[in-house]
Subunit: 166 residues, 3 copies
Amino acid sequence: MLQRLALLPCATAIVMASSLSFAQSPSPSGVKTLNPSGAIKTEGTWSLGRAGDFVFVAGMQGIDPGTNALVQDPEARVRQAFLNIRLIAQSEGASLQDCVRVTVYVSDLHRYAPMVDKAQAELWGKPPYPPRTMIEVRRLFDDDIVEVDSVFYAPAKKRVSLRARR
Amino acid sequence: MLQRLALLPCATAIVMASSLSFAQSPSPSGVKTLNPSGAIKTEGTWSLGRAGDFVFVAGMQGIDPGTNALVQDPEARVRQAFLNIRLIAQSEGASLQDCVRVTVYVSDLHRYAPMVDKAQAELWGKPPYPPRTMIEVRRLFDDDIVEVDSVFYAPAKKRVSLRARR
Amino acid sequence: MLQRLALLPCATAIVMASSLSFAQSPSPSGVKTLNPSGAIKTEGTWSLGRAGDFVFVAGMQGIDPGTNALVQDPEARVRQAFLNIRLIAQSEGASLQDCVRVTVYVSDLHRYAPMVDKAQAELWGKPPYPPRTMIEVRRLFDDDIVEVDSVFYAPAKKRVSLRARR
């Protein structure tokens, strides 16, 4: 991240203005890049999420933000993937209840679908759950067992008013 | 669904206000959960669709809403998946022509891609067709042959005026 | 495309009004269908992209718009897929910096992920990069090596003002 911040002289000011996210300057169309405090680190050509009315979160694996390594236990790893998503969404004022789309990629549908169900049931707590697609693919990064795509609805107007109340 | 409705004392009023969808109360950001009359039933941690300017429809398989079982004939099953999508989209005032994104997951690209083409050609009737991605994955739920993700554009303002005219 | 235009008597007028895209008439909800000059040709039940605040681009392969055939060299082919995306996005006034979501489907994660990274690094130039998911699937059309899904944020109001300045 240091490398990235170095590219943006105004980054320090942004960080001071918001305790929630280390946002880079918005794109020409006003898209923000999300990098909330406590989130996992990125390396390479991708970001954690981007927002503009909707929050688009990168495919999340069960990486522990504390160690930036995959959580060992499969059930805990699946749960961690959703925790990572929740943190990024919350940094934009969106809750799991604002999730409009989940795509779950697993390495073994029979084995991991129940763990996904369990993690979602626990973290969402009750319906409504988001529309979902779950598929078994041939390979994920790190030969991982699960990766989750997600989109949240978080209109800018709403987010502004949420922040004003804090 | 009875189980879900039980969680929402206001559900009856919502049902009476709209003959189109048994909507749950919106999320903090105003996301609605879709469960239109005549749609397939959901079990587990997912919903049929959610809306807020865009309608996000869950991955749809060729399930007959009458029996909640997969349609037997492959060609009819592929078509049923799109019919299920259309019903959910229409419950929000969106037509197939308002579809902005389709992702088609199949178990055999050579075998089922032509059936997808045929079903779309018949149901859309003519261009424009939505942007599409079709990939062969290792496994779908129920060892199914096709599952379709979709997103529709249906601005709230437009939907309100459509409803007012009914 | 001639076949498509024949369905729309007003197409000529639209083409004359915009040198950027051969747009078909918008859907009931105002969704435009994108077919910018210089883009690859479509055959079958899909379009290159559709727009309404967001630009949804079809899964792009490394097809050379000049020949409508796949680029031979793997690295150049991966790069071409992103060039095709960029052209479609730019036709709506969106830059790569306005990309909010990328899903990369590859036939071999170990072999092609580095090429995807390299192409993105070169074409984006610097962070922020879009949120991304990359997965290895069993098969792509034409037994291809890479296909890329993408979504861009390009609010209509912004696009109008961008065009007014041209």
